[in-house]
Each structure stands twice: as structure tokens, then as C-alpha cells.
């Protein structure tokens, strides 16, 4: 087969982009996304918000955690196309205008972040926990956050920060 007869790779095969309308961090948002683009890739490259991070792209580290219809998910294992008609909350939507969420404040006060790459995922995951269980004990916090890998902190100060945020919220 000569070069000119070689088939065009399927990368150039056109698949219809999907039109998505969703609620993102409280705002009505719409975009076009290729079907194979994950929600993670969609947020970062299509919508353009990069707070949600890629650590592994296969659901084993939690750095890409977002909230989908109120449940925390690994956005690398959700398709952008699935977001149609759904509600998505990312790290960018955690803080109230002009302020910080108690979790963010607690993380800063407890020095619960070092490099900070896992922090957005941890914060979104921790919010999911506090939404469901306002007074979690240490075991529950660790269990809930087991899907969020952190390599810097050893989790000690992270757990303390979540406990502190729970207290702050109770006040």
C-alpha cells in the first residue's frame, strides 16, 4: 500500500459533538463537547476552569472529584456529554462570594495542604461528607475520604481540618 492509499486515521473521523446544558456552580452553562471527553477534560479544556485536577485519569486518586447532582464522583469517569440537565459543583463554586467556605478556612488554619494538588478534590469530597453527616467522627472522615489520595500530608491535618470545619459549621 502506498502512502497516498493509506487510510486516514479514525482520529479524523467526525463524531457529532454533544450539546450540553447544565447548571455549573449555580450558573446555567452550555457547551459543545466531543463524546469521548470526560467531564474532567470538559471542565478544564472546554469550559476552561482548571481547579479540578487530573491525577490518574482512571478513578483511583480522587483529585478530579466534583459533585454531580449532589453526589461526589470522579469526573474522569463521567463523560462531559452526561452533564446535560445535571447539576455540577466544582471547587470553584465552594466559596461564597467574597469569602471562604468553612472547609477552606479550616484547611488553611490547620495547614491541611502542602503542595495543594489534591486539595480541590479533598474539599469537594469533604463537603459531600458534611452535607450528609454534619458531625462525622475520625473513622467516618477517613472512610469517606479514602478515595482521595494525598501524598504530602499523611492525612493527619486533613482529618483535623474536616473536624474543625464541622465544629465551625455547627456554631
Amino acid at each position: 500500500m502506498t502512502q497516498s492509499e493509506a487510510p486516514q486515521p479514525d482520529a479524523m473521523k467526525q463524531v457529532p459533538r454533544v450539546h450540553v446544558q447544565c447548571t455549573l456552580n449555580g450558573q446555567a452553562t452550555e457547551f459543545l463537547v466531543a463524546p469521548y471527553q470526560s467531564l474532567l477534560e470538559t471542565l478544564r479544556d472546554v469550559v476552561g476552569i482548571t481547579g479540578t485536577k487530573e491525577g490518574c485519569n482512571d478513578g483511583n486518586c480522587g483529585a478530579c472529584t466534583v459533585s454531580l447532582d449532589g453526589r461526589i464522583v470522579d469526573s474522569c469517569l463521567v463523560l462531559g456529554a452526561e452533564a446535560d440537565d445535571r447539576t455540577i459543583d466544582t471547587i470553584e463554586g465552594l466559596a461564597p462570594p467574597g469569602g471562604l467556605h468553612v472547609l477552606q478556612q479550616a484547611f488553611l488554619e490547620e495547614a491541611a495542604l502542602q503542595c495543594g494538588i489534591c486539595t480541590p478534590g479533598l474539599l469537594v469530597a469533604a463537603k459531600g461528607l458534611l452535607d450528609q453527616e454534619p458531625h462525622p467522627d475520625e473513622q467516618m472522615i477517613r472512610q469517606w475520604l479514602a478515595g482521595n489520595l494525598c501524598r504530602c500530608t499523611g492525612y493527619d491535618k486533613v482529618v483535623r481540618a474536616v473536624q474543625k470545619a464541622a465544629e465551625m459549621q455547627a456554631r
Binding site: D10, A11, K13, Q14, V15, P16, V18, A34, P35, Y36, S38, N57, D58, G59, N60, G62, T65, L68, R71, I72, V73, D74, C76, L77, V78, L79, A81, E82, D84, A125, G128, Q143, W144, L145, A146, G147, N148
Partner: protein, 291 residues
């Protein structure tokens, strides 16, 4: 990744016809926690994925006089956050609750776990020992097969082209029924089971005799293994450590583990013994409470 189309099916007919049309170049898409990983890893190439999650039948959850009816794409958290289900089917919750961490639980489904058909699946053994059946629908109608017969090899199952798993039916447990699933992992979360064992027992009214038992082993064979001889050995016996130990030996005999990066053969056989004993003890305890 080879570009594929995203087809959100609104009903079963759409899903079935899309799957039939594309043959093995299309797959059903539930939680995606296995599908997307495998696609990215290049295990197969697809032209289309058919999203089932907007089809009501596939997302149902019903507990009634007939038992538990679980839509195939229902995320696991829906099961264990339901107290009434957790009360009647703790053995199924044991499995459903450990398929990945919290984020995975929001998406992964028992149906998906079943269709992924990996030997180490945590959701399948519990279903087997509850005598669950898989409700399949396709171009040729709807029918059920026992979950015990669903997997045919690592990653393969009885679904034919154009068929989709619609739901899983779990009958109401008999009186004095108890079941449990435990798996061994090196960490405390996030791992694939090195070995998993699901046990169920039915005790007599006075709780001192085992009327029937079932045992299913995960990660020690090409499919979940129904350890029939081990289960049979329990019938008529008292629910004691001695009986459980003997069953554990027979379960280990029924296993055919391999050595891989998650465990050695010797280790897996030993874990089969240990987990059989432990789940039988737990099942007996639950059976005793279930009068």
C-alpha cells in the same frame, strides 16, 4: 481513544436497537467506572456507547413482597443508604459497599459489576448466595438467568449481541436466613479483592442446625466459583467453628487461584479458608437474629 458516539437511550427499545445495530462495536454505559477505564486502556475500540441511565427500568429500586428488584444501572449508594434494604439484605450491602471508594459508589452499579464479569468482582458473590437472578432483555424478549450462571469467563458473560441487563432480582430471604460477604485487600479501601467469599445459611427454627447453605468465591477462578461441596458439607450440621473450618477446607479445595501481582496461590488458598470461616460465622449470626 477511537472516537465514539454518545447515545443517551430514552427507553429500552432505543438501547437495544442501538446495541444490536453496532454489535461488538457498542457497549452499554452505566456507571462507567470499568467501561471508561478499559476504553482508555485500549482493551477494545467502540463506535458507540449507549447510556442507559435515563431509562427508568434500569434505574429502578423496589423492595416488596417479591423481594428486591435492582435496576442494572442503579448506583450502589442507593442500596446501602436505604435502611430497609440494609436490614433485609446486609450480605448484599457488604459487597455493594466496597466496590470502590465514595466517588465510585456514586456511579458504580451491581449490574455493571456483574456485566464486567471480573473474577474479583465484589458484587457477584453476594447475589449468588442470595439466589439472585439477572433479568435480561433484548430483541428476542425478556428472560431471567441465575446470577450464578451469568459469568462465563474473565470478562465474558451470557449476554448476546443486542441484549442488555435490565435488572437484578433478589428473592425475599427465607426465615432464619443470614448472609455475609468479606474480601481481603492489602489496604483498607480502594483495592481489588485478593480473595472474596460470600456465604449464606438457612438455620432451623431453633438455630442449632444448618438447613441449607451457599458459598461463592471471588478472585480464585476464572469466574465466581460456587463452592457446592463446601456448602453441602454444612447441611445438617450445627453452625459451629468446627463446621465452618471444614467448609473452609473444602472451599479452598474448590478454588483454583493463580499467582499475580495481587497475591500468590498459597496466600489465596489460605484466605479462602479464613474468609469462608469468617463469613459463615457472620452469616450464622445474622441468621440467628433473623427470626
Amino acid at each position: 481513544m477511537h472516537p465514539f458516539e454518545y447515545l443517551p437511550a430514552r427507553n429500552l427499545t432505543e438501547a437495544i436497537s442501538a446495541l444490536a445495530r453496532h454489535g461488538d462495536r457498542a457497549r452499554a454505559f452505566a456507571g462507567g467506572t470499568d467501561l471508561l477505564v478499559q476504553l482508555r486502556g485500549g482493551r477494545y475500540e467502540l463506535d458507540a456507547i449507549v447510556d442507559l441511565k435515563r431509562i427508568p427500568e434500569v434505574m429502578e429500586l423496589r423492595l416488596d413482597g417479591d423481594g428486591l428488584h435492582i435496576g442494572a444501572a442503579l448506583p450502589c449508594y442507593r442500596l446501602y443508604e436505604d435502611d430497609s434494604i440494609a436490614k433485609v439484605y446486609p450480605g448484599i450491602i457488604d459487597g455493594a459497599a466496597v466496590i470502590g471508594g465514595t466517588q465510585i459508589q456514586s456511579r458504580a452499579s451491581l449490574g455493571g459489576n456483574l456485566c464486567n464479569a471480573t473474577p474479583s468482582a465484589d458484587g457477584i458473590g453476594p447475589l449468588i448466595v442470595h439466589s439472585a437472578s439477572a433479568v435480561i432483555t433484548g430483541t428476542e424478549g425478556t428472560y431471567s438467568v441465575p446470577v450464578a450462571g451469568f459469568c462465563t469467563g474473565p470478562g465474558t458473560h451470557v449476554l448476546r449481541q443486542g441484549e442488555v441487563l435490565m435488572a437484578i432480582d433478589v428473592p425475599t430471604p427465607a426465615p432464619h436466613f443470614g448472609a455475609a460477604y468479606q474480601r481481603f485487600i492489602p489496604r483498607n479501601e480502594m483495592d481489588i479483592a485478593v480473595v472474596g467469599v460470600a456465604s449464606s445459611l438457612v438455620l432451623n427454627a431453633t438455630g442449632d442446625r444448618i438447613e441449607s447453605a451457599m458459598l461463592a468465591l471471588a478472585a480464585v477462578g476464572p469466574t465466581p466459583i460456587v463452592a457446592a461441596a463446601a456448602a453441602e458439607s454444612l447441611v445438617g450440621k450445627a453452625p459451629t467453628e468446627e463446621s465452618f473450618r471444614e467448609a473452609g477446607e473444602l472451599a479452598a479445595d474448590a478454588s483454583s487461584p493463580i499467582e499475580d501481582m495481587r497475591g500468590t496461590i498459597e496466600q489465596r488458598r489460605e484466605l479462602t479458608r479464613v474468609l469462608t470461616r469468617r463469613t459463615l460465622a457472620q452469616a450464622a449470626e445474622r441468621a440467628a437474629r433473623n427470626r
